[in-house]
């Protein structure tokens, strides 16, 4: 082999080897004095977030570099963030987390506390239930709530008006109205239950358990059993819910609501964006009817600090801004018409801009809002309980068998 060829081959091999050994983990260095904070969030792709970023940069001199998170597939979001934090990925400083992941990650030691950003005068501006149940653990606070999203009861006004029905306020009125509005041959049902796996069924049964004074963490409570029986009866006895409920996801449920196939659904506020101008005219939100209680879920998203992130100080500055009144007001639009700070929620100007917030305030005033009480066992509970409950809803097992399995599994996670 010619000498030049050998040298060339050796050089190529050395370059490849060195690139392999030294590649990865190195970021392009920003300009020498530029401070940056890397944020992994579904806000990153939202044009409405630019204003928030601009104002933050103007106030602090720190540039936000946003990386888009998979907003439409929550499972993928959880998988990506879990892979990120568990591998010690240091490329993201601030993470946009749901209630379940902030609970899991704080216990697993992947987050830095944000106590500095939440002194008492700031802390009292956030709903106590959200802070105590989701954001606080082990005498620290692990994230700032960005929104307070109730699981609203949406109704099709036109269907009710056409049938000459009033909006239900009690359990009996709810069942009666749903029965009157159900036309199974036309595929129209009084209530659209979303009982598909992947978190949809979890939200549904947790909400019904709250309505009957039960708890997904305690299957010995009578209310837990009553709630599950109601869900089953809604399909097989009252006939107000389609048999296909166990295959329903939010995508299909939303579409059926918009198509006039469902008269009532429980859903997060984001559906208002799909309803567009029809919200108010054809669709509206009504107060939660009282079964044993008038409770419904209240969900939140958070900004938290990745413990492995490079820019801890800059991340804390972002958390402080996100916790401020100005920051929360700027997050209103990126958060699909929702915000967490009470003084922003109750601000008259905000309510004028966004009628959904006014309704959220009414839900809060009626004491309807309750967070889901997530803890470190949440994912294991959800995975297994959804499976048992789907078996029951499809008559694969009886109610007694469901309660036995559910009680046994749930108790095993909390035994001392």
């Amino acid at each position: 082999m010619a000498r030049k060829t050998k040298i060339f081959i050796a050089a190529v091999a050395l370059i490849l080897i060195s690139r392999f050994i030294f590649a990865g983990g190195q970021k392009e260095q920003a300009k020498t004095d530029e401070r940056v904070v890397n944020v992994y969030s579904r806000h990153a792709a939202n044009p409405a977030w630019e204003e928030f970023s601009k104002v933050f940069t103007n106030n602090t001199g720190i540039k936000i570099i946003g990386t888009d998170a998979p907003a439409s597939d929550y499972g993928a979001w959880v998988t990506k963030t879990t892979a990120m934090v568990s591998s010690g990925d240091d490329t993201q400083d601030v993470l946009h987390l749901g209630e379940d992941t902030i609970v899991s990650f704080s216990r697993a030691g992947f987050l830095s506390p944000v106590d500095e950003a939440m002194p008492p005068e700031v802390l009292k501006q956030f709903p106590k239930a959200i802070m105590e149940i989701s954001a606080a653990w082990n005498n620290h606070i692990w994230g700032v709530p960005l929104d307070s999203a109730p699981f609203f009861l949406f109704v099709n006004k036109k269907m009710f008006e056409k049938a000459g029905l009033k909006f239900p306020k009690t359990a009996e009125e709810f069942i009666s109205a749903a029965k009157a509005l159900t036309k199974p041959k036309e595929g129209i049902y009084g209530y659209g239950m979303c009982a598909g796996r992947g978190g949809f069924l979890f939200n549904e049964y947790v909400r019904w358990m709250m309505a009957y004074n039960g708890s997904y963490k305690d299957w010995s409570l009578p209310g837990t059993r009553e709630a599950l029986k109601f869900m089953h009866d809604a399909i097989h006895t009252y006939g107000i819910v389609s048999e296909s409920a166990v295959a329903e996801t939010y995508d299909t449920m939303n579409q059926k609501m918009l198509d006039g196939k469902f008269a009532m659904i429980f859903q997060w506020p984001y559906i208002v964006g799909f309803m567009g101008d029809k919200f108010g005219e054809e669709f509206t939100i009504i107060p939660v009817p009282t079964f044993k209680t008038n409770k419904t879920l209240n969900g939140s998203w958070f900004y938290s600090i990745n413990k492995a992130g490079h820019n801890q100080k800059e991340a804390m500055e972002l958390i402080k801004f996100a916790a401020s009144k100005e920051g929360q007001q700027l997050l209103l639009k990126p958060n699909n018409n929702s915000v967490a700070r009470i003084d922003v929620l109750t601000d008259l100007q905000t309510a004028k801009i966004n009628p959904i917030l006014k309704i959220a305030g009414e839900y809060a005033a009626a004491d309807s809002l309750t967070p889901r009480e997530l803890d470190e066992n949440f994912n294991a509970l959800m995975e297994n309980q959804e499976a048992f409950i789907q078996d029951y809803l499809t008559n694969t097992i009886t109610l007694d068998q469901l309660m036995e399995r559910g009680n046994k599994f749930t108790s095993s996670l909390y035994k001392k």
Binding site: I9, A13, I17, S86, R197, A387
Partner: protein, 292 residues
């Protein structure tokens, strides 16, 4: 002199393959070693445990009804998919082997299902089998006036998952079998036709023996791929209804990423590894015997 040249050539060769060997080590061998290690630990990120657990994870998984259920469906999914993919693949290949106008175009579009990412196919299939808006039920309703609830009951959901997997994998089998069919010379067909052989005899006596080796190999690979399938169930059913469509690999994902129980997830992965390894060893041995 010759020995020195040989040594130099060897060193240069090793240097050139070193990057890919290192890549292979860090992306395949190292994760395997770590997975084996973790399978013997009680390693849970949420509970903060990382202690030696001996065979505890393996004992637990064989008592876990969810894992047993996943094993059962993995078995059904694999056998059902491979049998249908091979049969449909052979039929499809025979169709593609016939000469007609537009044959080239048909051959080129035949691979499209296989080329679509599995997650995309899974999401599309979850809508296709949707009882109200789905393409499948729309056709069934127009022809038979029925709208089955595919994704509601275990049997229907399993059938939908297997059918989607068959739709996705059949073109690949067809193309491989077609390559085998191309090796049968045209004169062979001509001579048996002259002798008065029917289409069935031609298939059974000429075509099948010629492609049995190809079928054997492709069946083995399709089996191995189907055993470790994950993305279809992830995108289409999330293992539901109940756990009826939960595959073993999906169980690994749930344990690792939902409950962060790395030790248990690793144990399930090790069991999968041995299943695949034992099957591959037996299958290739049988293949050798058949071919000889």
């Amino acid at each position: 002199m010759f020995a020195i040249n040989k040594t130099k050539t060897l060193i240069i060769g090793l240097l050139l393959v070193l990057p890919i060997v290192l890549l292979r080590f860090f992306t395949s061998l190292y994760p395997m070693i770590i997975t084996f290690q973790y399978s013997f630990l009680n390693y849970n990120l949420i509970k903060g445990t990382k202690v030696f657990f001996a065979f505890g994870n393996f004992v637990n998984l064989f008592r876990d009804t969810n894992v047993i259920g996943s094993l059962e469906f993995t078995f059904i999914f694999t056998i059902g998919s491979v049998v249908l993919q091979v049969i449909m693949g052979i039929l499809f290949a025979l169709m593609l082997n016939v000469e007609y106008r537009g044959q080239r175009f048909i051959r080129s579009i035949a691979l499209i299902p296989w080329a679509i990412p599995m997650v995309v196919a899974g999401i599309a299939a979850s809508w296709a089998f949707q009882e109200e808006y789905g393409l499948v039920n729309d056709i069934l309703f127009r022809v038979f006036h029925i709208r089955p609830l595919w994704m509601v009951f275990p049997f229907g959901a399993r059938a939908a998952v297997i059918l989607t997997n068959v739709w996705k994998g059949t073109p690949f089998v067809a193309i491989i079998v077609l390559a085998g069919l191309q090796h049968i010379e045209a004169e062979v067909y001509e001579s048996v036709r002259i002798d008065g052989a029917s289409a069935w005899i031609i298939f059974w006596k000429i075509i099948l023996p010629a492609i049995v080796g190809v079928i054997g190999v492709i069946s083995i690979f399709m089996t191995l791929w189907n055993i470790s399938s994950f993305d279809l169930v992830y995108a289409m059913t999330k293992g539901g209804p109940g756990v009826s469509t939960s595959l073993l690999s999906y169980r690994v994902y749930q344990e690792a990423f939902s409950t962060m129980n790395y030790g248990y997830a690793s144990a399930i992965a090790v069991v999968m590894f041995f299943m695949i390894a034992i099957f591959a060893a037996i299958a290739f041995r049988m293949q050798k015997r058949i071919m000889s």
